[in-house]
């Protein structure tokens, strides 16, 4: 197994995951693309050692040539990733033209819950504030 390929795949996975966790759609799409490349590299690593092209005559020993199956799988995976990335870009463009914003928005329910939590925090802060301001004159007085 080639160390360089493994390290490359790991780097692609790391960067892809980081980008995927961003809130900007364009970065998310780049993240998906990087993850896709990472898996394609991983498929190559899964194929084992490098070798001669798999164009065999009946007397070529099987160990001399590279395993062709992962290459076929990788090609299919590349085509699928390509198609889906194109779809995602179209979706992101639609999202941008609807909202003029590249950020992923929260669900309506999520926003309602978040607002309620914010309001509760504010209320408890205000209560704490009041307690402190109520308590201070007493403290000063004693």
């Amino acid at each position: 197994m080639s160390l360089a390929l493994a390290v490359c795949a790991a780097t692609l996975f790391g960067c892809g995951t980081y980008l995927l966790l961003q809130r900007t759609l364009t970065r998310v799409i780049l993240g998906i693309a990087l993850l896709g490349h990472g898996t394609v590299l991983l498929l190559q690593v899964a194929g084992g050692r490098a070798g001669a092209p798999p164009l065999m005559s009946p007397d070529t020993p099987g160990s001399a040539v590279v395993d062709p199956l992962p290459h076929a799988l990788a090609l299919t995976a590349i085509v699928i990733t390509f198609g889906v990335t194109a779809f995602l870009l179209a979706l992101a463009y639609r999202s941008w033209s609807l909202t003029q914003d590249d950020e992923v928005r929260d669900d309506l329910e999520d926003r309602l819950v978040a607002r309620r939590i914010d309001a509760e925090i504010e209320r408890s802060q205000a209560a704490a504030e009041r307690e402190r301001s109520d308590g201070r004159p007493e403290g000063d007085g004693s």
């Binding site: 779809f87 979706l91 909202t99």
Partner: protein, 494 residues
Amino acid sequence: MTALLPLSVVLPLVGAALCLVFSRVRALQRTVTLVTLAAGVGMAAMVLARVDAEGPTAVQVGEWAAPVGITLVADLMAALFLLFAMLTILGVAVYAIGQGADGRSVFHPAYLVLAAGVAGSFLAGDLFNLFVCFEMMLIASYVLITIGATEAQVRSGMTYVVINLTASTLFVTVVAFVYAATGTLNLADLSGRFASLPQALQLAIGLSLFVMFGVKAAIFPLFGWLPDSYPNAPTAVTAVFAGLLTKVGVYAIIRTQTVLGLDELGTFILVVAGITMVVGVVGAIAQGEVKRILSFHIISQIGYMIMGLGLFTVAGVAGAIFYVIHQIPGKTVLFLAGGLVEETTGTGELHRLGGLIRSAPVIAVAFLIPALSLGGIPPLAGFVAKLSLVQAGLSAEAWVIVAVALVASILTMVSMTKIWSGVFWGDPDEAPPLPAALGATRLRPPALMTAATLATVGITLAIAVFAGPIFDMATRAAESALDNTAYVEAVMGS
């Protein structure tokens, strides 16, 4: 006869191509869709009859021998799922046509590609083709879920697409791991070679597969995308997704875990199943809108199916298979009935609805029967499914999961009662008036929609009536899935 297996996948794809050609003539598109899907149902029935009589059937597409070529296999489990999936897809297609949900010319092609993807996923004989068919199904679902391109659909569709893509990336990663470890992707070949791997590696591969399909099946804690995205899509789309997509995920989990035969994961699967049941149903109780309640129910029901697998006994897996069979039309019809409510009144918000049992008794019946079935009331199919799972749990002495399943079942009934009393009982005049935008509502949904819904109710009733023979088949399907000698022989021997 063996041509039926590839045809089940290819025919919907040809139909999709024809629909693209006829994209300007809606009537032709509709004819092509209905004819293709009806043929799909017929072929699925023939496949089931053949598999039932002669055991698993395999086809090597392109005559490449088994471990290398593209293998399509139908065993009893796949054939059963295929038949009920095709019936449901046909029912929803009629409903969508009745509703006029196919206004955009891309609807029919995408719908048929979805059907092809579902059929392909059930029949795929190796991991990579399973991935390709899954992708086919999912890409069609991306198009369908964002078909209106409204702001809500684009927002929730984005989450849906990104999460499913991440899971698919994980799928390819697992494919690479499996290939590097065993040198094969063919499921039948894999089941022979897997046992010789080191224990830790076996567990790692089994767990990665479980987690990855878990995202698609929406098990705890990987279900967040489902209740967010499903309610925003058009009703017909949500209904077919609810009935099929997560179930294909469950099928993939059952198939891969039984092939790998990792009984050690049983306890872990049972814990996940229990939490999924409870969290899903509690989420359902908290919601106030028909489609959202039903979306959370999907999650809760997935827990039951996973529970059957987690027991790793013939009775447990048979229960899981029967559960999936009754859920495919059962869950779909609930969404169809919910869509009829929206079509009649213009809303699905519980606090705006009431008294529909008087103004629309047919919808009430169409909702009541599958709802009672889902709650596990005898003699409906849901009762048989839950009873078989509970019995399997008791005979495996898994007391905790049985208790959790029973409690979750009661809670399911509670949340169904919430919809029932909110929508169908009560006085419509007490509910706050609808906003002006929704004022112009029809009191009668198109007859075709109602007919399609009632036909799907008929399928769920048929499952209840023929529960004996179907359960018998499910038991044999579970036996052959757990001891997959016949499956391996059909694939490798031919």
